[in-house]
């Protein structure tokens, strides 16, 4: 047992890090086995808990780490574990703190907090065999809870390491004799996992994917970043800093040019002066959008990251209801496409869009006129200067009577030339955001611009609305997927023009043509390392990012997105006509049967005699037995010779054979096995010798069949 005050520690303080590491390592290997095993298990547990630290309450992470550290110190010092009072006390504190933090003990977040604390506290009670197993099984469960928060490749790799660590600790705990090396146990654990892999693959492919067994507590859907259902100036600005992937799009054929990549999301038609909201939908009364496709369609497949929202983003304009297995969808009159339930997991769908289209009624007459009237409503009392500007514009003889198209053109011209600036950090706007944009700050992000533009259009009595979604994306050259990130979130306007219907107008493009033309974006300041790599080789950074992204994408496509549809597709590829879950069960059962058959054959093969010489000898014994001799089991060739000499085979009247050739053969058989190798059999000639020995045995086998056996009666 080493104590903290051992003379080695002050001396090592000034040594270089490497030798200190070696000293630490030596100290670890010199620990008593019990302490070493406990430290290893604690390390594994710390590794499992580590990814949680980011989203656990601070007290929980601190308590768990402190407990693990304290337990490790006790193990190294060889001191007894704390008494039951400590454990119960800590547990009560933990439960109380959980209640205080989450207001409940149930639900996902409270459950994760509790399970992490329990796992840490349980290490204080490793007395009986059962306690140790409880730690292992709690550990497995804690690993799973990590997946609530992230199912990325990194998390998967970290948890694979954790699983191997736990298995290593389990194997190690079941080698009670002596002090087996952890490396040996890790090898065994790795082998177990490798052998378990085919089982995992088969079950993963074939285990029927069913819907959740019961509805989940509400907090299961964590507030992920992404577009929100309403637009308040400032929302999308936050997204500009979020570099995570929103969706990946694979086009059949060429990727359309950047200015056409408008992925339509929520359409916001109601404005209360501050917040834009979607129009409340009267589902039964919703007419299908009045859409007319022009030109050639674009087909593509979208892999959407979970948004916790029912929106399905698609390029303008979706002409055909997109295919998405198992999930009913509908189109709203303003051409937004919705799923029946929120997208809580990675979702893949195919869609078809026509970049050239005509949307909405062409003329405002009757009911259409009333419907369009909703899209010119403005809340009273806001943006007085914008309303005044509209009044002035309407009186402008250059614009009067030339229709909405001219107004739009004029406003875009104003944005281009009026000194408006596109920025991520606009000055605060106050209550009248449109006024502020048009007259005061003259700067803003896409949402300011779109909102101000639509307000002005409505003030001009032109039906207009805000459309949010994503614009652009970056093509990953490694796998050919267009990667659309949260920072590509965008807001633009749609204006109704008589004779043209709803027309997309992107006022941001007028302010900052680079926003939609190329992949140029306003980028937040970079970290020091990123900057360093960027200056070293800008290309390298981009390529690293693309490679990593492609890897993540294939992980998403093949693992995370393996849903019931893909499962049934897989069965269809296997040749099932109309696969359902019973076919999955059938294939699974067939695999189990196959595995059982293979192992049975293997067992038989192992039990059978493999040595060709022994097999030949056994054949000889069997023949002699059939000829009427009492041959003992396991009789050697020499014993058989003696047996034959003491009572020769009965002489047959027909072929007159006697036992002499048989005796010769038996002696040759004996020589083959036991005779000293001839002098020529050096190591160089070993190979040829082995070959000639095989040939000799084959000759013996041939001779055996030609021996004049006594015919059976």
């Amino acid at each position: 047992m080493l104590s903290a005050s051992s003379p080695a520690s002050p001396a090592s303080a000034g040594q270089p890090a490497r030798s200190r590491l070696a000293a630490l390592r030596q100290r670890f290997t010199r620990l008593p086995r019990e302490a070493r095993d406990t430290l290893f298990l604690l390390l594994v547990i710390a590794w499992i808990i580590a990814p949680h630290l980011g989203h656990l309450p601070t007290w929980c992470g601190a308590l768990a780490l402190a407990t693990l550290l304290g337990r490790g110190a006790l193990a190294v010092a060889g001191r007894p574990l704390p008494g039951a009072l400590w454990r119960v006390g800590l547990l009560l504190i933990a439960v109380g703190a959980t209640l205080a933090t989450h207001r409940t003990l149930f639900g996902r977040d409270a459950g994760v907090t509790l399970i992490v604390v329990l796992l840490a506290l349980k290490t204080l009670e490793l007395r009986a065999r059962r306690d140790a197993f409880v730690v292992f099984f709690l550990g497995f469960f804690t690993m799973l809870t990590n997946f609530f928060f992230s199912q990325s490749l990194t998390t998967a790799a970290a948890m694979l390491v954790a699983l191997l660590g736990l298995l290593t600790a389990l194997v190690n705990a079941h080698r009670p004799v002596g002090r087996p090396g952890l490396g040996t146990s890790a090898g065994v654990a790795l082998r177990l996992a490798l052998w378990g892999t085919p089982v995992m693959v088969a079950l993963f492919l074939l285990f029927p994917r069913v819907a959740p067994l019961w509805s989940l507590p509400t907090d299961a859907r964590s507030a992920k970043s992404g577009l929100s259902a309403t637009m308040e100036v400032g929302n999308i600005t936050q997204l500009a800093l979020d570099d995570s992937i929103a969706m990946r799009v694979k086009f059949d054929g060429a990727v359309p040019p950047q200015p056409e990549l408008y992925f339509r999301g929520p359409v916001l038609s109601e404005f209360d002066g501050r917040i834009w909201r979607p129009r409340v939908l009267r589902r039964s009364a919703d007419p299908a959008p009045d859409l007319q496709a022009l030109g050639a369609p674009v087909r593509y497949q979208v892999t959407l990251e979970p948004t916790q929202q029912p929106w399905l983003f698609a390029l303008d304009a979706v002409t055909e209801r997109p295919r998405i297995g198992g999930l009913p969808t509908r189109l709203t009159p303003d051409l937004q496409w919705l799923a029946e339930r929120p997208v809580t997991e990675l979702l893949r769908y195919t869609a078809q869009s026509h970049p050239q289209y005509r949307l909405g009624p062409l003329q405002a007459e009757g009911a259409t006129r009333i419907a369009l009237q909703d899209d010119v409503d403005l809340p009273p009392g806001f943006n007085p200067r914008t309303l005044q500007l509209a009044a002035e514009l309407q009186r402008d003889p250059r614009l009067a009577g030339r229709g909405a198209g001219a107004l739009v053109e004029a406003m875009l011209e104003r944005l281009r030339t009026g000194g408006y600036r596109y920025t991520l950090e606009p000055a605060p706007a106050g209550v009248n955001t449109a006024d502020a944009f048009w007259f005061d700050t003259k700067e803003g992000f896409c949402e300011h611009i779109a909102s101000a533009f639509v307000v002005l259009m409505r003030a001009l009595d032109v039906p207009a609305r805000v459309v949010t979604g994503y614009q652009g994306g970056e093509l990953n050259r490694l796998d050919g997927f267009l990667e659309v990130r949260q920072s590509d979130a965008h807001a633009w306007a749609e204006v109704w023009i008589a004779g043209q219907g709803w027309v997309r107008v992107d006022p941001t493009a007028a302010v900052a043509p680079g926003r939609t033309g190329t992949a140029q974006r306003l980028a937040p300041p970079q970290g020091a390392i990123t900057q360093a790599i960027g200056t070293l080789s800008p290309d390298l950074l981009a390529r690293l990012r693309q490679g990593w992204s492609a890897l993540n994408n294939s992980w998403n496509q093949w693992v995370l997105n393996y849903t019931q549809n893909r499962q049934l597709d897989f069965l269809r590829n296997l040749g099932f006509e109309e696969p359902d879950w019973r076919d999955l069960a059938r294939v699974l059962a067939a695999l189990v049967g196959l595995a059982a058959a293979v192992s049975a054959v293997w067992a038989l093969w192992q039990r059978a005699q493999h040595d060709p010489w022994l097999r030949l000898l056994e054949r000889a014994r069997a023949r002699l037995r059939r000829a009427g001799l009492a041959v003992p089991e396991g009789a050697t060739p020499r014993a058989l010779v003696q047996l034959l000499q003491s009572n020769p085979l009965p002489r047959s009247s027909t072929n007159g054979s006697d036992s002499a050739p048989l005796v010769d053969w038996l002696l040759a058989l004996e020589r083959w096995r036991y005779a000293r190798p001839t002098d020529g059999a050096t190591t160089q000639a070993a190979h040829t010798t082995a070959a000639s020995r095989r040939a000799d045995l084959a000759a013996l086998r041939r001779r055996f069949t030609q021996l004049p056996w006594h015919p059976r009666r």
Partner: protein
């Protein structure tokens, strides 16, 4: 932390214990006895342990969580764990399968005293077999903390000897107890075990009487009684050079200390005294008690290095001394 297997849980009721004992007796009785056994599929049994059932429950919980939260990575974890558990079942079974058990002949065994059994575990398939435990399958009551299992690792292509303690209840040719070997390796979720009945009977000598009366008086060859056990070589005629085989206590150590010369006391013609041990001298009527006393006397006479003979119903063993003679006498006592 050491997950050494605990013995079977203590029986909850006498009825259950009796039932277990009955099942075990029936099971052992139908075993084919042999001195050496190589374990095969037919003789190796496997069942999940309580920890294995716990793991099953854990897997079920993991699966339900994966279904409810639609975690494909959760499915992967669950199925990898299940696959590893299946692999562990195979590894555990293979850990015992193919192992050869052999009961070595015992040295010397008295009834009712601890009897050392030596079991050799041999490995011939070229892989190490860690954490194998062997125990005697008897029905002796034992304390709960007393773990009957003896643990060992068997090296690849090597063998290991394990010492077990047993207690024979009576003398004679005794059928050895059934032995059991088990392993929980590698994950402790399956118990793999075998039961084996060794064939060769053990020769168990009678239990020597604990406080036996002193040895009966010896007789000179001419029939003059001597002063019994008092004369353990007290008289001697002189000294002679030490010869191989002379008892150490006959060495004249003083002489050796002075001159470095090793000499032995020369006894006064021990041949002239002989001690006959026979049932009549014990004064006991119960046969086993009588044999016990005779056994104690044989041991005492051997310790005193006397010349003694044994006279039983069927056999007469002429007076002699030394280990071979002692063994002959004890065997006669065991088998008569």
């Amino acid at each position: 932390m050491n997950l050494r297997a605990t013995p079977l849980p203590p029986p909850t009721s006498g009825l259950l214990a009796a039932w277990r004992a009955r099942v075990r007796r029936w099971f052992v009785a139908r075993l084919r006895a042999s001195d050496t056994v190589t374990l095969t599929q037919r003789t190796v049994y496997i069942l999940p342990t309580r920890a294995g059932l716990m793991l099953g429950a854990t897997l079920a919980v993991l699966l339900i969580a994966s279904i409810n939260y639609q975690l494909n990575l959760g499915y992967l974890l669950t199925f990898l764990l299940a696959g590893s558990a299946l692999a562990a079942m195979h590894v555990g079974h293979a850990n015992l399968r193919g192992l050869t058990l052999h009961l070595l002949p015992t040295a010397e065994a008295f009834a009712l005293s601890p009897l050392p059994l030596e079991v050799q575990l041999s490995e011939s398939q070229g892989r190490e077999r860690p954490a194998i435990a062997v125990r005697v399958l008897d029905e002796l009551p034992r304390a709960a903390a007393d773990d009957p299992w003896v643990w060992t690792d068997v090296p690849a292509r090597g063998s290991v000897r394990v010492h077990l303690a047993w207690r024979a209840s009576h003398r004679g040719r005794v059928r050895p107890p059934a032995l059991s070997a088990q392993t929980h390796y590698p994950l402790g979720i399956f118990r793999v075990w075998t039961v084996w009945q060794p064939a060769a009977p053990l020769l168990v000598y009678p239990a020597p009487e604990a406080h036996a009366p002193p040895l009966p008086a010896g007789q000179a060859t001419d029939g003059v009684p001597l002063a019994g056990s008092q004369r353990g070589g007290a008289e001697f005629d002189g000294v002679r050079a030490w010869r191989r085989g002379d008892p150490l206590r006959n060495v004249v150590w003083k002489k050796w200390a002075r001159s470095g010369e090793l000499v032995s006391r020369d006894h006064a013609s021990p041949q002239s005294f002989e001690l006959w041990l026979e049932p009549a001298l014990t004064g006991l009527s119960d046969r086993e008690a009588m044999l016990s006393r005779l056994c104690a006397w044989v041991l005492a006479a051997d310790r005193a290095d006397l010349l003694y003979g044994l006279r039983l119903d069927a056999v007469d063993i002429a007076p002699g001394r030394g280990p071979v003679h002692r063994r002959a006498c004890l065997e006669a006592l065991a088998t008569c």
